[in-house]
């Protein structure tokens, strides 16, 4: 993969895959114009981290799709390398391009969790976050694959059920009947297995009758007047439809890779942030100053965490290095240290807690940052970001 050099490219081009490999960078015309204009307007920053912060700020204050699009372009490379590494490591049936799509589609989640208050390194946080998103998605898919449809109905949240059905184009009134039917199904048919819950079989006719009776009673109070009665057969049909929708919705729809933004989105974007947003949002000087300040702060944070880690025992240091460099799975770490997989998780958690407390206390006394649970929460994210950057091998930059 050729890495992009020009600022305009970095914030306006997208990866195009051929088969499962990087083919080329393709530009989005609107983003290119938008970025071009930004760069022309006077004496602005010249580093990509400056512009990453700029767009993050625009995103945070306006949730403008243009900002999301620029950052999505910016994070293409890092997402590509994460997807590549994961597909090599995990040996999954999903292709590299699939993993890439899965992760890049979650850019909003990454932005939501990233807090630039104490850090300027969106890229290294994204690297960590994309890795987790991919792992998480693969885990969910694997789990769903093992489940029968009847079990899957028990293993979806109501939100997911509603989203999945909405995704099939179902209208709201019908949706309500499905949700009620699903609740009746879950309450009356749970199976008796305590451990082997993934293999739940289809209910017996008598159970369907009971579910139908319950549905037909409850619809009188829980659904709008005029809802029709449902037969056991119809309820069964509904549940099959619901399970299929949930299953389909677990897998992200393959987005056309050649078209990073669909035309509708792109047309609605415009070339500039709307209204006075831009001016009030950013005077270049301020952002540049903030960037510098953050760089200093980041260095300090880095020193604090480095010295805290240096004081940990050897096993714990190994644990952190293994996990955050992403080269080892939990099981491999557990084997190497001759401990249980769950012990790895618990120990990492308590180590992260110690680092969090350490950093929080330091920030209170040194930076005089007023500490709140919200600030603590973003510090917890910063620690992840920092650890993943700290233990980063040169693998991705040399690939």
């Amino acid at each position: 993969m050729q890495s992009r050099q020009q600022l305009v490219d970095i914030f306006s081009t997208f990866v195009q895959f051929e088969a499962d490999d990087f083919k080329r960078w393709i530009a989005d015309a609107r983003l290119r114009r938008s970025m071009g204009k930004c760069l022309q307007d006077g004496d602005r920053g010249t580093s990509d981290s400056f512009w990453a912060l700029y767009w993050h700020k625009a995103w945070a204050e306006q949730r403008h799709p243009l900002a999301t699009a620029h950052i999505t372009a910016y994070l293409q490379e890092v997402c590509y390398w994460v997807a590549r590494k994961m597909s090599l490591n995990l040996n999954m049936r999903q292709s590299r391009a699939d993993l890439f799509q899965t992760a890049i589609a979650q850019t909003d989640t990454v932005l939501k969790r990233f807090n630039p208050q104490l850090s300027s390194n969106l890229k290294s946080y994204a690297e960590f976050a994309f890795g987790n998103i991919i792992k998480d998605t693969l885990r969910k898919n694997q789990e769903a694959d093992i489940c029968t449809d009847w079990a899957l109905l028990h293993k979806a949240s109501q939100k997911r059920l509603v989203d999945a059905l909405t995704n099939t184009g179902m209208e709201e009134s019908l949706l309500a009947t499905y949700v009620l039917a699903w609740k009746c199904y879950k309450e009356l048919y749970s199976g008796t297995e305590v451990r082997n819950t993934r293999k739940l079989v289809k209910p017996e006719p008598a159970t369907w009758q009971a579910i139908a009776r319950l549905y037909n009673t409850e619809r009188l109070s829980q659904l709008p007047a005029g809802s029709a009665t449902a037969s056991p057969e119809l309820l069964e049909q509904w549940m099959v439809t619901a399970a299929k929708a949930i299953r389909a919705f677990l897998y992200p729809n393959p987005v056309s890779i050649d078209q990073p933004l669909n035309s509708e989105d792109s047309a609605s974007l415009g070339d500039r942030l709307p209204g006075a947003g831009e001016d009030s949002l950013l005077t270049e000087l301020l952002i540049q100053e903030e960037t510098d300040q953050r760089q200093t702060q980041m260095q300090q944070v880095s020193d604090v965490l480095s010295s805290a880690i240096a004081q940990l025992d050897g096993d714990t240091q190994y644990l952190l290095a293994s996990y955050y460099s992403e080269n080892l799975t939990q099981q491999q770490i557990a084997q190497a240290l001759n401990i249980q997989q769950y012990t790895v998780s618990r120990r990492l958690s308590s180590t992260r807690k110690a680092l969090l407390k350490h950093l929080a206390q330091w920030s209170q006394t040194t930076l005089h940052i007023p500490m709140t649970p919200a600030v603590l929460s973003s510090m917890s994210t910063i620690i992840d970001e920092w650890l993943s950057a700290h233990y980063r091998t040169t693998e991705s930059s040399s690939g």
């Binding site: 969790r113 890795g131 987790n132 792992k135 998480d136 693969l138 885990r139 969910k140 694997q142 789990e143 769903a144 093992i146 489940c147 899957l152 028990h154 293993k155 979806a156 949240s157 109501q158 939100k159 997911r160 989203d163 009620l180 609740k183 309450e187 009356l188 048919y189 749970s190 199976g191 008796t192 305590v194 451990r195 082997n196 819950t197 993934r198 319950l214 109070s221 829980q222 677990l250 799975t329 939990q330 997989q341 769950y342 998780s345 618990r346 958690s349 308590s350 992260r352 807690k353 969090l356 407390k357 929080a360 206390q361 209170q364 500490m371 649970p373 603590l376 929460s377 917890s380 992840d384």
Partner: protein, 387 residues
């Protein structure tokens, strides 16, 4: 089992801690429930509790307790999902879910709007019984859930997207350790009081297992008022399982202490009677042990010396388990009506060290009496004893 385990759990991220479900948690629920869904709910909650409680106790410097006696859970899980425990002076509701997607935290309104049930924090827990682990997905505060959560009227629940939770439970502990001031609770409206007859009617009406969703069959305020009363909630649970009245004293005397009452510690003393000191001529028919400020006491019920067959008078007596001990000054024994109201001569207080406290009461057949002690005994829940 191991193969499933290996296949899926190595993919988990570690921001959220992963805990192994102990083998002992795989037992079937020991109490009956009215639907298979409720049985599953009980099972998942018990499993969550059996996994998370030992972990919290190992990791936390502060004391970690169940906020309820274990015998109470069935009468909660029959109706709602969730388990409450205390860590230090904070209450946490654990909300287990089997949802693979982990898209939302869904908390039954009871945990949010019943004043006595409100917690400071709500923790989303993913349970995977097949692979043998639970994973904490994040937490939120009562305040946040009530202000930012979406109320789902169809389910009487508050929901919050998982993305809006604080993913790292460490944030909660560190905030506590650093003493960061934050009031996690929003205000909740007080509940109406139910008249005894009204409560009995509701228990009768909602007590049939044919009514699968009793919590949505009546207005929430009424339902909440019924549910928050431990004695009434237990009776409702029992009725739905087709159990006979479990808290009838005459019944205990005829047929022995009921199964439910025994779980809460009621026993029939066998031989203690003969060892009674000369001054104590009261016959003890049933008793249970209470822990008050770390000390063990016995609460005994028997006929008062003034009792006649025409007018039976019952005596509730509270004394230290160790007869050499005295009742500390300030301790109070109090009797209340079934709807928790006081009445004349319903209290005995230790104004000087005494051997025991007692209150005599004349109860009509079928009348319910609730005992209470101040300071509140460990794990105290009002029980409606029927005479």
């Amino acid at each position: 089992m191991m193969s499933h385990n290996a296949a899926s759990s190595h993919l988990l991220s570690l921001e959220q801690v992963l805990l192994e479900i102990p083998e002992s948690a795989y037992a079937q629920p020991s109490h009956p429930y009215s639907t298979s869904g409720a049985t599953r709910r009980a099972y998942l909650n018990q499993m969550t509790l059996d996994t998370i409680l030992p972990w919290l106790r190992a990791e936390q410097d502060q004391p970690v307790h169940l906020a309820r006696q274990s015998a109470t859970w069935p009468s909660i899980w029959e109706f709602v999902n969730g388990t409450v425990l205390t860590v230090g002076d904070r209450r946490l509701v654990l909300v287990p879910s089997e949802a693979i997607d982990g898209d939302e935290l869904r908390v039954a309104q009871e945990w949010v709007d019943i004043p006595a049930w409100v917690a400071d924090y709500y923790v989303a827990v993913y349970v995977n019984p097949d692979a043998g682990y639970v994973q904490i997905q994040g937490y939120t505060t009562h305040h946040h859930l009530k202000q930012q959560g979406t109320y789902d009227a169809g389910d009487r629940a508050y929901t919050l997207d998982t993305a809006d939770l604080t993913p790292d439970l460490n944030v909660l502990w560190v905030a506590q350790e650093l003493g960061l001031a934050e009031n996690p609770r929003a205000t909740v409206a007080p509940l109406p009081t139910l008249a005894i007859a009204q409560a009995h009617n509701l228990i009768e009406r909602l007590g049939t297992p044919d009514l699968v969703f009793p919590r949505q069959a009546i207005p929430f305020a009424q339902w909440a008022a019924l549910l928050t009363h431990d004695g009434w909630r237990k009776r409702l649970y029992e009725q739905r399982q087709g159990m006979v009245e479990q808290w009838s004293l005459p019944q205990w005397l005829r047929a022995g202490i009921s199964g439910m009452a025994a779980e809460f510690g009621w026993v029939k003393p066998q031989l203690q009677l003969a060892t009674g000191l000369g001054t104590r001529s009261t016959e003890v028919l049933v008793c249970r042990t209470l822990e008050i400020q770390g000390q063990p006491y016995t609460l005994k019920i028997g006929p008062s010396p003034d009792s006649t067959s025409a007018t039976p008078i019952w005596r509730f007596e509270l004394a230290p388990v160790d007869p050499a001990q005295m009742m500390p000054v300030g301790l109070k024994l109090r009797l209340l009506t079934e709807d928790l109201q006081g009445f004349e001569h319903n209290e005995d207080a230790a104004i000087a060290p005494v051997a025991s406290l007692y209150v005599d009461v004349v109860a009509a057949p079928g009348e319910g009496i609730v005992w209470a002690v101040e300071p509140t005994p460990a794990g105290y829940e009002p029980e409606v004893l029927r005479f």
